[in-house]
Symmetry: C2
């Protein structure tokens, strides 16, 4: 996959591949600051390494890594969002290495995730809990056809902003 970020240089070629156990140190290095900050994911900021990796890669989740020049730049997981009659809708989570935020890594991962979701036979993708202050993510999801199909009033206690809404976002594939 050709990386279309703005930085150029040795990150021109962004590669997406499935994550394996060997990638756990790199994954945790990206997840830990995001979860500790507690301002985008509804995850206990004190979560430990094993629980975080289980949340990201365990169960029905399939995790992928974005890397360039051997360096891990981001990751996403994909899983069925529900079972039974709801199993045709998938859910994804995304994390980008903090130094690289805003440079197109998330966009490339989202494009890959949409292709992966179709390959896996999913008919739609749903984000269950997008914190309304996470405006960069919301703008990206909207650019890729996601609609705000729900708003959860005061469902997130932001560490700096207090009670804010969370959005449910959805698109058919």
């Amino acid at each position: 996959m050709r990386w279309t970020g703005r930085s150029g240089g040795d990150l021109t070629e962004l590669r997406l591949r499935p994550a394996g156990p060997d990638d756990h140190p790199a994954l945790w290095a990206m997840l830990e600051p995001v979860f500790r900050a507690g301002d985008t994911y509804a995850v206990d900021p004190a979560i430990g390494r094993a629980a975080a990796l289980e949340m990201w890669c365990g169960g029905t989740h399939r995790a992928f890594l974005a890397e360039a020049a051997g360096e891990v730049l981001g990751s996403y997981y994909i899983c069925p969002n529900q079972g039974g009659g709801g199993a045709h809708v998938c859910n994804c989570g995304f994390v980008t290495a903090q130094a690289l935020q805003g440079r197109g890594v998330a966009r490339a991962m989202l494009a890959h995730a949409l292709d992966t979701a179709r390959d896996m036979g999913f008919a739609a993708m749903q984000f269950n809990f997008v914190v309304e202050t996470n405006t960069r993510a919301i703008a990206l999801w909207q650019a890729y056809g996601f609609e705000m199909v729900g708003r959860l009033p005061g469902a997130f206690r932001h560490p700096a902003r207090g009670e804010v809404d969370a959005l449910v976002m959805y698109r058919r594939l």
Copy 2:
């Protein structure tokens, strides 16, 4: 708790109490036909007993039973719907013994669940996935102040009706 169902008789006194391991046979007897039918819960209709009981009572879930005259009439669970900044919103699931549907058991359980949620310190209750054809449940949630805050288009494949929407319902406590 005084049971206000329409049947009277020996079901007048409905009691709500925490469920324990001894209640698993009665719980599974109620859950199995509901999950097998696959028309209200987004759960694999082929789910096994252990997985169903884990889903209902395991992890962060607390399960309660409704009974009268020593007979189990229904159950609900309550749990945090998210972690971290979302942990002040709870989620619940309800099941009623099939022979007793429409007789006020779910209403009594919901009233108990709202009290329990407040006692546990939750600030809101959210139902993530209410199938739009489940009109009796929707009417009950609305009667108790839940609002439709989201609609997931085609997110449920109903065994008889095909693709239908699922609703996200929410109320502050």
